[in-house]
Symmetry: C2
Subunit: 327 residues, 2 copies
């Protein structure tokens, strides 16, 4: 029997598919099964030999899986699923509704503490790696200001909004950090910047035949909340161009702290440039599955966030190796 | 009596001075005393009301100091001082002789475990923050390559080397990361790059009266190990220009990982742009003093590195606050 860490995946959308890729890149973990609410025989799994099972069978796997990756969505799946599955398994999830994290933590923590499981919540890049950097930068440079920029990234919500505009056949929207704003922050001047001053919005629109392009552009640019306050560009393209150039899900962003010590400026910056948002997010989940496994073996049960987990816990290497080769 | 964390500083060079500044920026820590091998009355301390004491008096402070910041040098001070003072205090140090860290760890760990103290070793930005990012990036993106660039930074060793050249009155040397090399790495192409391909060297030289500038430039550019393999620039300036433009100790650098998931490139980047290297390094030490204090209160004794310390431990905020406001 292998001594690899045994993982399961619940939910086979983009994140679950990314998790399959991410596990394949490790040497110390293996995927036991993917669980779905659909008919398991209908799953198109990219890797051969991976078991698909119905989510109702999950209890049969309690002894076969060390950590369950919860790859559902934050809106409705995770608030229900995480407390349910943390009763049975150590879990890692990417819950990202920032405002509701405290109550989510509390409900998951109660279950995990009572069930002697370890539930690592809200993992990914934001929340996740960006969260770590916001806190570390401020702890190190208490005098200063944190800035978070998102993008260049495909925004699902804004893409949905442009597709609802009259005369639009298809389209996507990218959120793009303002180069000007980033340069101001990097200069150490700690400017006051609203979200709309920090980001521009660029739309690629496939119009319906004979649609009024000027009217589309105007409706998008004046849309309240979504676009009106932003510097917005609208480009018209063909369906073929949309498929060819805009079918990936890139994302990324920057956390920058402009800090001061004595009379000196100190700039701390963390950034990601991701060709695939779901594959990267899944890779973070898989790395934190190591931590969930180790914490559970140390009987550190309950809900944990990235703030509770030492960096060495997400690495497959021993503490001695890390000190020797990476410190 | 205040419930602030009580700190002491051993060694009042640039790092010790930076630590005074860094402690001033916190609300939860206070400086009890600075210890020196010199006559304490000769210390010019920038802040009023701070006690200076002789290093031989340090034992009298065992009950008055929670964490001692060891601000000596890595070459001779720390290998001797850390085991000595870890017998008496929780400590934080910036030991940065990468190749000797394993034996240093072992000698400090033995003392700290036997003395029920917590000794956080090799803290700063490299080793320190850069080390964390090298490991986290690789844990998340196992398929890929890490790159560390240093600079723009004043290099003490290389500045010493140019000042030994015949005809040089004074001078400084900056290590500067190659923009070309950084762009290649950011493109995700994972190029093979030697240290000399990743960095350029720029020297500002004050020549002695009547010195042969061409000979100086040639001797510098052909100096083995230090300059011969590098793209090196030599600029001649006056003593006044040197004082005016080159009296700070800036530094910084980049850790970049070009990783792959599936067919996608994922770029992970961490960088620092520091106007004062010693003040920033000291700020990291002070933040990790919180961790040393908390670990010690949890009876997690022994030597620890940044890999063993969860991000929340260096923050003055509660876990609930971090989840609510930063995650």
């Amino acid at each position: 029997m292998s001594d690899k860490i045994k993982l399961g995946i619940i939910g086979y959308g983009n994140l679950g598919k990314g998790a399959v890729e991410a596990i394949k890149n490790t040497n110390d973990m293996e995927l036991v099964a993917i669980f779905t609410r659909r008919d398991p025989s209908t799953l198109q799994i990219s890797e051969p030999g991976i078991k698909a099972a119905h989510i109702d069978e999950v209890e049969d796997y309690q002894d076969k899986i060390d950590v369950m990756l919860l790859c559902g969505g934050s809106a409705t799946d995770l608030p229900e699923q995480t407390p349910q599955f943390a009763k049975l398994f150590n879990t890692v999830d990417s819950y990202d509704t920032h405002a509701k994290i405290p109550e989510y933590y509390q409900s998951v923590n109660e279950v995990a503490e009572n069930s002697n499981t370890t539930a690592v919540i809200s993992v990914g890049w934001d929340p996740g790696l960006f969260s770590i950097n916001r806190v570390m930068a401020e702890a190190i440079l208490p005098s200063g200001e944190n800035y978070t920029f998102w993008g260049k990234g495909l925004s699902q919500g804004h893409s949905d909004a442009v597709r609802r505009v009259n005369g639009v056949k298809n389209g996507v929207q990218y959120t793009i950090p303002s180069e000007d704003a980033i340069e101001k922050v990097r200069s150490g001047s700690n400017p006051e910047l609203s979200t709309s001053e920090k980001h521009n919005r660029v739309c690629y629109i496939v119009p319906e035949d004979g649609a009024d392009k000027a009217a589309i552009e105007n409706e998008i640019k004046t849309m309240p909340n979504y676009f009106a306050d932003y510097n917005t560009e609208v480009h018209f393209i063909t369906e073929e161009e949309l498929k060819r150039d805009h079918s990936k899900a890139p994302h990324g962003g920057f956390v920058i702290r402009g800090g001061n010590t004595g009379d000196n400026n100190q700039i701390y910056e963390f950034s990601l440039k991701l060709d695939s948002n779901p594959e990267f997010t899944a890779s973070v989940l898989v790395a934190y599955a190591r931590a969930a496994h180790r914490l559970s073996e140390e009987k550190q049960f309950g809900a944990k966030t990235v703030y509770d987990i030492a960096p060495g816990y997400i690495s497959p290497l021993s503490a001695a190796d890390l000190r020797k080769n990476y410190l």
